[in-house]
């Protein structure tokens, strides 16, 4: 258990955290700005993965596939907003949960209908297919480093947009007090639509980026949605900065916990008991972490001031 090993696991955690951030960013804005619970957000991650699989098979290149998949994911998000979600903003949370859960079932079945139940695989783009030896005998795929870079880049872009542009200002204002923004003459519905579309596109982007390293299959967004909710609750609903920090923390806690929990327990327990308890505790760690954060900061790390 060397320092390099720790560094590698931290890198894995960082990569996982950044993917979570891409998904949670849209979710936290939609929830924070519009007070709208969108369970179907995970499905948009899946749709992004399927779109990139379809487009890269069609064009024969991952780059073109990604370029085509992003606007399609955006258009798809807008379509869902116009057709379904728009009619739910004024209703209570239970209606929203039910309706968006229905969208999950519908789209999971839909991709099965179009692409079949067997997992699809997307080839890693040629220029990123190499690997670097970062530890004795362990190669780290360049593509995973590219994911980290892309995640950080998107986070920086979001920061600029949200903190230093007019649209970003309206979004922040909307998160604090939507009726007031509307009363000041801003078309809040159109703002909602833009936020929603871009949230969907970010989730789609996350799905597209992981497509080459994971297999693309129906229901792939369902598990990650739960983690995305954990992230926005820890980060403070409506806060991009909170989502970023919380996503990285969750990624690190989950990855490091799984690799080190059994080892730490070995200090106090005998090896077989340690491995058994470690196995049981590791998946719980992120929820324990969430409970601890909420105990000290009930509205998350960076609550939006109201």
């Amino acid at each position: 258990m060397t320092a390099t090993f720790f560094a590698i696991q931290a890198l894995n955690g960082l990569q996982f955290g950044l993917i979570l951030f891409l998904i949670a960013a849209g979710l936290t804005l939609v929830f924070g700005v519009m007070d709208f619970i969108n369970l179907a957000h995970g499905v948009q991650y899946m749709v992004g993965a399927y779109l990139v699989a379809a487009f890269s098979a069609w064009t024969g290149s991952f780059g073109w596939g990604l370029l085509l998949a992003l606007p399609t994911a955006l258009a798809f998000g807008l379509l869902l907003e116009v057709l379904i979600f728009r009619h739910l903003y004024d209703r209570d949370h239970l209606d929203q949960v039910l309706a968006t859960f229905g969208v999950i079932l519908f789209l999971n079945q839909g991709v099965k209908f179009v692409w079949g139940a067997a997992p699809l695989s997307v080839p890693v783009p040629e220029i990123l297919s190499g690997s670097v030896e970062i530890m004795d005998g362990l190669l780290y795929p360049v593509y995973r480093i590219a994911i980290i870079a892309a995640g950080l880049l998107v986070a920086a872009l979001l920061y600029v947009v949200v903190s230093h542009t007019r649209v970003g200002m309206l979004v922040r204002a909307g998160a604090t007090n939507a009726p007031m923004v509307s009363a000041l003459g801003v078309n809040i519905r159109r703002l909602f639509m833009i936020v929603f579309g871009f949230g969907a596109m970010l989730a789609g982007f996350a799905g597209a980026m992981v497509a080459p390293i994971l297999s693309v299959q129906p229901g792939m967004g369902d598990n990650i949605l739960i983690l995305a909710f954990v992230v926005i609750v820890i980060g403070g609903i409506g806060s991009i900065r909170g989502a970023f920090l919380a996503a990285l923390l969750i990624g690190l806690v989950d990855t490091l916990g799984r690799s080190f929990a059994p080892n730490l327990l070995r200090l106090v327990l005998d090896p077989s008991a340690a491995s058994q308890t470690g196995r049981a505790i590791a998946p719980m760690l992120i929820y324990i972490f969430m409970a601890a954060v909420l105990f000290f900061r009930p509205s998350g790390l960076f609550p939006v001031k109201r």
Binding site: Q9, N12, P119, L138
Partner: protein, 391 residues
């Protein structure tokens, strides 16, 4: 409207009532397989293998015309039980052939054997059905579940691997797999790592493996998990340094997706497409011609199941009424199995040979597993003794 429904109902009832009289001559076989969801490919191989056998036998088993009724258990035990009741009560099948998954086998075992219908498993071989809950109406043309894992444990022991890293999904079959491996492996287990079922990203496991430097790893990662693990293991550069032993992970159902990443990886099996018997060569060629893919062991087990039923019915003159005579005929296993040596133990499970197999690319570019060496000869499963004790 109401009248129409009643009339239709009456017509249907009459057809149903008439059916047994007409079908008396036809032998009915229910194929219970998983044909939808992510694991559908396994059921497809079994179904295609059975139907290929039917074609090769001229559509008849033991001289009787056959009606094969295929049902999808959806990998849900409750659904499987409902469909099995349909097969038994509505269709009145003479044999149930299947299933792929052990949870389905355990759930459907009781209704089938209680109705005194013969149940022939083409894959699932859970330990309780081989041991304490063995039943004279249950036979398997496959294996007891632990046996493929035992092959790798024996190989790891014989090759003198001192430290082995074990990796499995965190559910019953995963735990059974590692227990099976450890039956013959006596060296040190440096880590027994369980990942959540349906894990697709193994990067942090790979870092652990690289840091622990074991002499080999053993894993059981069926389906899509196996595809991802093998690709990521190869990409991390570990495949050439730490031998990758597995069962139900690198086989003909996963190889089309794993492609070159799997080449050279070792697995345990009771058969391989290149096994050198004349019957097997003919079977593999015919299967590829018909379905354009290399058959996996599921197809072979199902093909053998058809041969088994055919041989038993020939012995009884096509009659199924005398269950004891039919059972005695099945027990004899008087057919030429594609895998060579084959006979039944007292618990209805095969006594057969097991091989170490290796994924390889054939000259035509398709991938298959190929025999490296025979590991067990005429091998009986570990639970057969418990069965004898209860009978």
């Amino acid at each position: 409207m109401n009248v129409t429904i009643k009339t239709l109902g009456l017509a249907a009832a009459m057809t149903l009532a008439a059916a047994p009289a007409m079908a008396q001559e036809k032998l009915k076989i229910g194929l219970l397989l998983t044909l939808s969801g992510p694991s559908a490919i396994l059921g497809q191989h079994a179904r295609d293998g059975f139907q290929l056998a039917m074609k090769d036998l001229g559509g008849k088993l033991g001289g009787r015309d056959v009606e094969v009724i295929v049902v999808d258990d959806e990998l849900k035990p409750d659904v499987a039980v409902t469909k099995v009741k349909g097969l038994l009560e509505r269709d009145k099948v003479d044999f149930v052939v299947g299933p792929i998954f052990s949870n389905v086998a355990v759930a459907t075992h009781k209704p089938i054997v209680d109705s005194k219908t013969f149940y022939i498993s083409v894959n699932a071989g859970p330990s309780n059905l081989a041991g304490k809950s063995c039943n004279p109406y249950f036979f398997a043309t496959s294996y007891q579940n632990d046996q493929n894992h035992e092959v790798l444990g024996k190989v790891a022991q014989d090759r003198g691997y001192k430290k082995v890293y074990l990796l499995a999904p965190n559910y019953q079959a995963g735990k059974d797999a590692l227990a099976g491996f450890k039956r013959h492996y006596k060296g040190e287990v440096v880590e027994e790592s369980y990942v959540p079922l349906n894990t697709l990203d193994f990067q942090s496991e790979l870092a652990k493996i690289a840091s622990m430097q074991p002499d080999a790893i053993f894993t059981f990662m069926p389906g899509g998990m196996g595809v991802n693990l093998v690709k990521q293991y190869r990409a991390a550069g570990l495949a050439d340094r730490i031998p990758f032993l597995s069962a139900f992970t690198v086989d003909e159902t996963n190889l089309p997706a794993q492609q070159d990443a799997a080449i050279g990886m070792l697995s345990g099996s009771n058969w391989a497409p290149n096994l050198d018997t004349p019957e097997n060569k003919k079977f593999v060629a015919a299967y590829e011609a018909a379905y354009n893919t290399v058959p996996a062991s599921y197809a072979m087990h199902a093909y053998d199941a058809a041969l088994l039923i055919d041989s038993a019915l020939k012995a009884t003159g096509g009659k199924t009424d005398d269950k004891d005579a039919l059972r005695a005929a099945i027990q004899k296993a008087d057919f030429k199995s594609l895998r060579g040596d084959f006979k039944f133990g007292a618990n209805g499970f095969p006594i057969q040979d097991f091989y170490l197999v290796k994924a390889a690319k054939r000259s035509d570019g398709k991938l298959e597993t190929e025999v490296v060496e025979k590991v067990f000869d005429d091998y009986t499963d570990a639970y057969a003794k418990e069965c004898a004790a209860t009978n």
